[in-house]
């Protein structure tokens, strides 16, 4: 009874929260709390190529350019550069030159690499270090040499840059440098000093200016200048981390980024927690003063002109499972979150008219929903080398067109994505130049315009096309054999069964038997490489917002089997390829639009992809988070975000008051359940021996 009273008193008197996962000292501070699911593999800007990693690298490293945070379509603006460089052709168009001028006075974050005595540390000292930041810290000014050094690092034999192959085709001398370094680097030295090795296509003009010379034309190169591959890298950092003993302590440039950005990574435990701290040397870039229509009304221009970043610290906690992450978001311990499929109905309601909104529970908490179509496409591809469905014959084309009508992507999005997708009408993603919208934008092979919207063509039309292809009622007109097709896909376990059943039903609508060849990722990739797949599902996420970055996926020169490129359908159409060659180097213009229209028509007619969809990202944020706007191209968005820490602390207290009565009840039940045992024991002990 005393216990129950004590618990009751505790419940009444306890005003604070018990379930706060963060240290008490952090309460009320200007900190942004976020989560990460996958531990990053690389934080070296030469090697890192995933969006998970960019979440960290793009807050620290600064390339010369960036995407405007608010404007759409996406627009490049200067970051450390004084202006967006314009291409200048030389030697009769043989070369294109970009001259990049960076702004003077930009300083690096405090880092031990900038202190000369830290460049020669004893191994014993390194072994005792808890963090590189335990050493004396220094800084220096950003110069053009740092950008040149980083471009040379693309060719380093000690690193694996995913874009070395691509850039070697364009940056003059890069492939040659890679070859020279490969022969030179015997790994006997501790540090490969790239300053001593000349890169023909990159030269320093003055302390703040450098020049990149490209072979031929490559207008999309300017987009690469907004990626961390082309960020500044101080040579001192590479030398510092190359000291013997550093790698054994996991002190490497791959894990401890060094940059000029608004934040610096001061705590690096990819198993549990990563912490970004405000870079005290950051120059205070102003918040944008203009955006797209509606931004001002949404409060996204309230901080216009104010120096960024607004948040002092960003704490990333690792959450491998979606349920704890979601619940901690609802408790206010994460400031923003996506919506797991399991909890979609708890968060979002879709009206009869298709309008998306938050549930009353979410609205009561002041949670905000933001949606954005991703510059990504997932498609059902056809291997054009396959004898049954591939090739350019009218028979095969009609079969593919019939399938393109029959596969109901609208239903797929509704069932498996909770409506979070948009049916792809062409290979381009929404928001990319060249994609038509509305009536002009529909795929006339699969859709028709009815009542102001795109409607999938009736299945009867697909059956007619199938009969014309020589498969009436799903049987070969000559042999009478049923048509059996094969879909290669990467299975994720028993949970895939509904999805596989759905695929079979789509094909069964045309009386076609679909066999699903469920395999692992490696085998799937092997089939794609060898061209032994028939139908398959894949996706592509844009590197940059240019139609070239989507349309090249169907260019003949990129065909996977003969050339090892990204055209996994092995689609080859001479007219398409000729148009692609013309289109890829053109600036956005009506002429380019006309070429893209023709290319899209070819793809729709030949149907190397049997439709697909663009995912729509749904993100939630709490009422105390300001300036949040989805930006699928840029990941350096943390500097724009502001939080109201006092409001967050108050709401966390309100939402997380401990509930103690169940614990008291449990205790009572435990005591009550012990009573019969005690009584039984006493009765037994007092019992007299039974007569024999």
């Amino acid at each position: 009874m005393r216990w129950i009273l004590l618990l009751g008193l505790l419940a009444a008197g306890c005003a604070d929260v018990w379930n706060d996962p963060y240290p008490a000292a952090e309460r009320g501070r200007n900190i942004l709390y976020s989560a990460f699911t996958e531990r990053p593999k690389h934080l070296d800007p030469v090697q890192s190529y995933t969006s998970d990693e960019a979440e960290f690298t793009q807050q620290v490293y600064e390339p010369p350019l960036q995407y405007h945070y608010l404007k759409r379509p996406y627009e490049l603006v200067p970051l450390t550069a004084a202006e967006v460089p314009q291409p200048v052709t030389s030697q009769g168009g043989r070369y294109t030159v970009y001259t990049i001028r960076i702004r003077p006075g930009i300083r690096y974050q405090p880092h031990p690499a900038f202190v000369p005595q830290n460049q020669d540390l004893a191994r014993a000292r390194i072994e005792r270090l808890a963090s590189p930041y335990a050493l004396p810290l220094g800084t220096r000014e950003l110069t053009a040499d740092d950008y040149i050094y980083q471009i040379k690092r693309l060719a380093s034999p000690r690193l694996h840059s995913p874009i070395l192959g691509l850039m070697s085709q364009y940056v003059a001398g890069l492939g040659d440098l890679a070859e020279r370094l490969r022969k030179f680097d015997t790994r006997k030295g501790d540090w490969l000093d790239l300053r001593k090795h000349r890169l023909e296509g990159v030269e320093k003009v003055d302390r703040y200016t450098y020049r990149i010379r490209l072979k031929g034309r490559y207008p999309q190169f300017v987009y690469w200048l907004a990626m961390p591959f082309f960020a500044a890298m101080p040579w001192e950092a590479e030398k510092f981390f190359a000291q013997p003993g550093m790698a054994e302590r996991n002190f490497t440039l791959d894990w401890w980024p060094v940059g000029t950005g608004p934040y610096m990574l001061t705590e690096n435990n990819p198993n549990a927690r990563m912490v970004l701290e405000r870079n005290p040397n950051f120059r205070g870039e102003p918040y944008p003063a203009a955006g797209e229509p509606g931004d001002a009304a949404a409060g996204l221009l309230a901080d216009a002109g104010k120096p960024m970043p607004f948040v002092d610290r960003v704490v990333f906690s690792r959450e491998k499972e979606s349920i704890p992450l979601w619940n901690k978001f609802l408790q206010g311990y994460y400031d923003a979150a996506g919506i797991p499929s399991d909890t979609f109905d708890q968060a979002v309601r879709v009206s009869v008219g298709g309008e998306v909104g938050l549930t009353p529970e979410m609205e009561a908490k002041g949670i905000r929903l933001r949606t954005a179509v991703e510059p990504t496409i997932f498609y059902l591809g056809v291997n054009m080398l396959d004898a049954a469905v591939g090739g350019s014959s009218a028979r095969a084309r009609k079969l593919r067109q019939a399938l393109a009508i029959a596969v109901d992507w609208e239903e797929y999005i509704s069932i498996f994505l909770n409506g979070r997708g948009r049916v792809a009408q062409d290979p381009l993603a929404p928001g990319i130049f060249g994609q038509r919208t509305g009536r002009e934008g529909i795929d006339p092979v699969t859709h028709e315009w009815q009542n102001g919207r795109a409607e999938r063509r009736p299945i009867g039309e697909a059956r007619k096309l199938l009969a014309e292809a020589g498969y009436p009622d799903g049987r070969d007109a000559k042999t009478g054999a049923p048509l059996v097709l094969y879909l290669d896909t990467v299975g994720r376990g028993p949970g895939d069964k509904p999805r596989f059943d759905w695929w079979r039903r789509q094909f069964a609508r045309l009386s076609i038997q679909l066999e699903i060849r469920d395999t692992d990722w490696n085998r799937f990739q092997e089939k794609i490489r060898k061209g032994s797949q028939q139908l398959y599902i894949l996706g592509w996420n844009a590197d940059y917002p240019d139609p070239e970055n989507f349309l090249f996926l169907l260019a003949g020169a990129q065909a996977r089997v003969p050339h090892g490129g990204e055209n996994t359908s092995n689609f080859v159409n001479p007219e398409y390829d000729a148009l692609f060659e013309r289109m890829k180097d053109m600036p956005n213009s009506p002429e380019r639009q006309a070429i893209i229209d023709r290319m899209v028509d070819i793809v729709r007619r030949d149907a190397p992809w049997i439709g697909g969809f663009h995912p729509v990202a749904y993100s939630l944020s709490h009422a105390w988070v300001m300036n949040g706007k989805p930006n699928s191209m840029a990941r350096n968005s943390l500097k724009y975000v502001r939080v109201d820490a006092d409001r967050r602390a108050a709401l966390r207290r309100e939402w997380n008051r401990p509930v103690l009565w169940p614990a008291g009840l449990l205790l009572v039940l435990l005591v009550a359940s012990a009573v019969p045992a005690v009584l039984s024991y006493r009765r037994r002990e007092r019992m007299a021996a039974k007569p024999a």
Partner: protein
């Protein structure tokens, strides 16, 4: 006894070589070195040159088990298996293939959180299970025993995932008593460990208590127990001074072998509670097809299991004077 320990240690070497060979064979039965390279290099813009470079750098450009082109002993030593295996025996695990982080350093960092979870679950669980089992044995053939067994069967039939999700839902989400997930060092770890430890203990009650109850009942049927009762000893004295002591031998057999494996962490609990231990390290490595980490963790697990079996044998001599190791 020393000779016995030395002999058992020597026996362990071929066992470890065999385990390493099996791990190697299983891994490369489903993955080629090219697959491993592709997995680590990502999916976008991976060229054949990049794959060759990665393989050469990580030693995957050698034949798997037999190098026909190498001279002499090189036919065996200049192979992927030999190069990757031999260093394990001097506990040089190298670096992970996925992220180049030093494996030994990772193991040292993750050992603490794993043990912080596993030791309380083990000790508290053992105490609770023995207590509950003794209670059921004490009240054998009564309705208390009957319902106790039913409760045990019900509890062992429930998936551990249910305990985890149910526990997080009730205790963390509805009652706000502890954080749902996370981890911190030092004393701050306590608030994160309360729930996973509680769930670990409760989840183990069913199977553990039933097994111990069986052991106790078996002891209670023996002659010395009847003699003790005939002497007029109280039932509690019979249970705690005689039955419990003699039932310790089979309990030890099952328990001591598990002690070294506590180090390996809990795969599921660590993932759900965000505890950065060795269990989640192993799971991550399997998902990332990081052979270096998988191989190291299997090797350590095998060594610990062998140590556990040895400790079990030694513990026999401590609890049963009749047993002698030679």
């Amino acid at each position: 006894m020393l000779a016995y320990i030395v002999r058992r240690t020597l026996y362990a070497i071929p066992i470890l070589v065999g385990i390493n060979l099996i791990t190697f064979a299983l891994f490369f039965l489903v993955n080629t070195p090219d697959d491993v390279a592709r997995m680590q290099l990502g999916v976008k813009r991976v060229t054949p040159e990049a794959i060759q470079k990665w393989k050469a750098e990580h030693g995957y450009d050698r034949p798997l088990l037999w190098n026909g082109t190498a001279p002499g002993a090189g036919k065996f030593t200049d192979t992927l298996f030999f190069r990757k295996s031999v260093k394990l025996f001097v506990l040089d695990f190298g670096s992970a293939e996925a992220d180049n982080r030093d494996i030994a350093s990772e193991i040292r960092a993750r050992m603490g959180p794993s043990l912080a979870l596993a030791i309380p679950v083990f000790l508290v669980g053992l105490a609770v299970n023995i207590t509950f089992a003794l209670g059921m044995a004490f009240f054998r053939a009564t309705y208390l025993d009957f319902w106790g067994v039913i409760l045990c069967v019900a509890m062992m039939s429930i998936s551990s995932l249910f305990y985890i999700i149910g526990g997080q839902f009730l205790i963390s989400k509805l009652w706000h008593l502890v954080p749902i997930s996370g981890y911190a060092g030092g004393l701050d770890a306590v608030k994160f460990l309360v729930l996973p430890v509680l769930i670990g203990v409760v989840g183990g009650i069913g199977a553990g208590s039933r097994w111990y109850r069986t052991l106790f009942l078996e002891e209670m049927g023996k002659d010395y127990v009847r003699t003790a009762r005939a002497k007029g000893l109280a039932e509690s004295t019979v249970m705690f001074r005689h039955v419990l002591q003699n039932a310790l031998i089979p309990i030890l057999t099952g328990v001591v072998v598990v002690i070294p494996l506590l180090f390996m962490g809990s795969l599921l609990t660590e993932s759900f509670f965000g505890i950065p231990g060795l269990g989640s390290y192993t799971i991550d490595a399997i998902q990332a097809q990081d052979f270096a980490v998988v191989r190291a963790m299997v090797f350590i697990g095998s060594v610990l299991y062998i140590v556990g079996l040895l400790l079990t044998d030694i513990s026999y001599t401590l609890v049963d004077p009749r047993v002698r190791l030679a």
